[in-house]
């Protein structure tokens, strides 16, 4: 295909059809949910941190799981992120921006679909900030 935006490269379809780390963790350090109300995409992310971090800055992500429902872009992006985050520090997670997500997906995302792409990242980041007591929301949404 690839006539236009070429958004559906093999990698994205692979992660959509065979999501990695799909499910919920037994005993997560934090859990957070979010949605993209326009599309109805929903994502839940569970994160388990290593227990030996000396300070907040050194907290390392040990395990990530996600579950949810939605378009291929939102679900593939959550699946890739769940792999990407393992071994990263929370600080590194919080430093990620939309360009990092788009790089990770490896395709051009049309402007109207960026919200789908960044949902998982926003959910993970808000979850981390809530865990640190720096944010207080029940649910992340990409409508701002």
């Amino acid at each position: 295909m690839g006539l236009g935006s070429d958004m559906y490269r093999q990698q994205i379809l692979d992660h959509y059809k065979n999501p990695r780390n799909y499910g919920e963790l037994e005993d997560p350090t934090f859990t957070h949910v979010g949605e993209n109300p326009m599309c109805g995409d929903e994502i839940r992310i569970d994160v388990k941190l290593e227990e030996d971090g000396e300070s907040d800055d050194e907290e390392t992500i040990k395990q990530v799981a996600f579950s949810g429902d939605g378009c291929a872009i939102s679900q593939a992006s959550a699946s890739m992120l769940s792999k990407e985050l393992q071994g990263k520090t929370v600080e590194e997670l919080l430093e990620m921006d939309r360009d990092d997500v788009i790089d990770m997906l490896g395709v051009d995302i049309s402007p109207m679909r960026v919200k789908c792409a960044v949902l998982a990242e926003k959910v993970a980041q808000d979850g981390a900030e809530i865990h640190r007591g720096e944010l207080d929301v029940d649910k992340t949404t990409t409508e701002d």
Binding site: L3, G4, S5, D6, M7, Y8, G40, G70, A72, C116
Partner: protein, 414 residues
Amino acid sequence: MSSQDLESLDVEGIRQQFPILQREFDGQQVVYLDNAATTQTPDPVVDAMSDYYRQYNANVHRGIHHLSQEASIAYEEAHDRVAEFINADGREEVIFTKNTTESENLLAYSWGLNELEPGDEIVLTEMEHHASLVTWQQIGKRTGADVKYIRIDDSGRLDMDHARDLITDDTEIVSAVHVSNTLGTVNPVGELTDLAHEHGALSFIDGAQAVPNRPVDVEEIGADFYAFSGHKMAGPTGIGVLYGKQELLEDMEPYLYGGGMIRKVTFEESTWGELPWKFEPGTPPIAEAVGLHAAVDWLEDIGMDRIRAHEQELAAYAYDRLDAEGDVEIYGPEAGSDRGGLVSFNLEGVHAHDLTSILNDHTVAVRAGDHCTQPLHDKLGVPASTRASFYVYNTREEVDKLVAALDDARQLFA
């Protein structure tokens, strides 16, 4: 109009008046099937607006000079033309707003906030657009009035038995969409209006998807209020209409205040001017009114019966073709029934947003989402759908392109 006339619709000739339909992306000509969101604008409408700006642009109602006189006359005549088009009694009954949404809010603020009280009931349908659903929901919260919804049945039509149960002497207003922008259902708005009147209630009809593609006669329907948007009927953005019965509008408080709407102002008091100006304070959408006038002329030149027949035919064709695919779920009344020119659907295993992106790769422009009917989508049990919506310039070949492009989505997501 005879059936012979119906067949003579010159779609090719009509398409010539829309340069935008010739646009190409990646070497493919655009297939514009997002007409329920907004329609394209034919040259005569663009020309009328451009002529206004080039030849007689001026503020209205307050100038004595030539240009202002011409602009004022054109602006007033646009009201007359729209009144004639929907068979209202005259310009007094035609208020220009920004769009259907503002027309709805005008009524809700002006009449709803002032008249409703706890114990009163507002009856809507489950297929209302957010323009009326959200507005009445909020007016309900502020006044204490209850909001009730007429159910839809499995075919996507209103359950009229339920309507008869819901509409009672406590009902103050029945607000219903004429043609559903998601299901395509054409609702029995005359019957709903009669039910409302039997119980001393008013009726408001959202005609955003009806006025563009079928003859609408507000007197025949009997509606107390009726709303639509210019940009969905070959007209410009920035202008909408609220029709209201004169005696009701006379009793209503203005919703916006300012200049151009008053009879007399002192430091302490103001009195309101004549209809419809009482509801149109400030500098109104003059060029847009000129454009809307031209759009109405253009539509009636083709003939509303013919436009309806063309859309119905395309909708039935699209329904049949999509249905024959086997893995497409279609919402709303079956093919061949009286439905607006649109088809909302989902392709099995492919999210509506993904499908719409893939269709866009084939330069087929459709809409994905909840189409501003989120509660209805909840009821249908899907987060979103893809909607193809047709207008007078669309063809069967364009429907074929839509259906052919589905294969690409199937292959990718198989």
